[in-house]
């Protein structure tokens, strides 16, 4: 197993955001986590990535390649993050540095974890890999000079440039329009091949495009899990049924 989460709980003050959640992700498995706002899905992913605020109290266990992440020092986390595992967030505009050209940011991501400095050629190849047709121009652009879809592609290029074993995608297409979303999902489907991935979304239709298996979270608990087609066809929990109805466009 690439990732084993066991009885993970996250508490902020008196609020229990995640309550004894357990799941595992295989070496090249893609697992979807679905739920509405406040279900605990993003807090779970941030706990795995070690990105929770200092006020969060985390208990239980998160093992990545057998290594315990709960209680790991930030210095050690930094060696893993962006290298052995990486994240793709909803809003690339807040994840990318607005003052730095995109190509340089990708090169920096390489250089941080690798002695071979990020060469121009590598950067352009990576951009091409995520479907950018004019990698030279995009590499020379600042984030605000790119469209939403191009920014998200650049973000994906940065996330996979160090060939991580695990990619955590948190609502990676929510801010995009439908056609761009479809294209980005194709890119993700391609770059996640042979890696483990966690894919967080409130949209079952989106998760189904990328993940064969899904867990459903509500108020910090896992209420249902299984193969995504089975969960959609016959949801066992009322909450899942409501998510399915919403994704079908039933009012």
């Amino acid at each position: 197993m690439k990732l084993v989460v066991d009885e993970l709980s996250v508490r902020f003050g008196d609020t229990l955001a995640v309550d004894k959640v357990s799941f595992a992700v295989g070496e090249t498995e893609r697992l979807g986590i679905i739920g509405a706002s406040g279900s605990g899905k993003s807090v779970t992913s941030l706990a795995i990535a070690g990105l929770l605020s200092e006020t969060a109290r985390v208990s239980g266990s998160i093992k990545f390649d057998g290594q315990e992440l709960v209680g790991l020092r930030e210095r050690d986390y930094r060696r893993l993050r962006g290298n052995r595992f990486s994240m793709i967030f909803q809003e690339p505009m807040t994840a990318l540095d607005p003052t730095m050209r995109v190509g340089l940011q990708i090169a920096e991501a390489i250089a941080l974890h690798d002695r071979r400095t990020g060469k121009r050629l590598t950067v352009e190849e990576e951009l091409q890999r995520v479907g950018i047709t004019d990698p030279g121009r995009v590499a020379d652009s600042f984030p605000h000079q790119l469209s939403g879809g191009q920014r998200q592609r650049a973000m994906i290029a940065m996330a996979i440039v160090n060939k991580p074993d695990l990619v955590i995608c948190d609502e990676p297409t929510t801010a995009l329009d439908m056609v761009v979303q479809r294209n980005i999902l194709h890119v993700l489907d391609d770059v996640l091949t042979d890696r483990a991935a966690l894919f967080i979304s409130h949209d079952l239709g989106v998760v189904r495009e990328v993940c064969p298996r899904v867990i459903v979270m509500q108020e910090g608990h896992i209420v249902e899990e299984g193969p995504i087609d089975a969960v959609i066809a016959a949801p066992a929990h009322d909450y899942t049924a409501r998510l399915v109805a919403a994704a079908r466009g039933e009012l």
């Binding site: 509405a36 706002s37 469209s147 939403g148 329009d177 439908m178 056609v179 761009v180 979303q181 479809r182 409130h202 949209d203 079952l204 239709g205 989106v206 189904r208 495009e209 959609i232 409501r242 998510l243 399915v244 109805a245 919403a246 994704a247 079908r248 466009g249 039933e250 009012l251």
Partner: protein
Amino acid sequence: MSLIEIRDGEVTYRRRGKPFVAVSDVNLAISPGDRVGIVGRSGSGKTTIARMLLGLVAPSRGEVLFRGAPLSEARDELRRSVSLVYQDPNASLDPRMRVGAIISEPLHRQATDDELRSVLGAVGLDPALARRFPHQLSGGQRQRVAIARGLVADPELLVADEPVSALDVLVRAQVLRVLRDEVATRKLALVMISHDLVIVRQLCTRVVVVDQGRIVEDGDVAQVFENPSHPYTRQLIDATLTL
């Protein structure tokens, strides 16, 4: 007669010092009770068309008519008859005002308790929320406050710009139900901008597809979805992820 009509509308903005045609050759008539979805990619011009309908941007060529009269003569009447619901309630609701005062804005006076009770009830909110501030509400409650503000002055046309795209999927369904029911009960005309065809199908009977500043398709929702004539419409339909 149409409620609002754009004839040969063209809007030019200046971008980096040069004129830039945002939309051109726009012909669009909205009749009382019409429910029209405007779809198109980011930057296609759909919001510019909506702003023309609202009298917020003047066409550089062509004209906008309100009940057959040019806007220069009918601007006040248009303002009374048309209201707008924005995408992001966080940005459109003044954080320093209580909900009651926010909803009263279009009336240019404080709404009476009866008016507040009626309009908050219509959008499924507890009238007691009128005393709260926006930050004390959830995202779905805030967007319902924005809809209540859009309804309070009894408009004939409600223009909604991506009204649910900032909301979570379950809250989205709840807000869409409110919008659908109020539009039906009040026999309002609705113009809804969206990039989501599923939502357009839920609320609208007619769809207008905008691509590169031009209306490339305008017709009955079911017909357009079954038989799209423009490549972009086809792309949109293919990209829609339904279960």
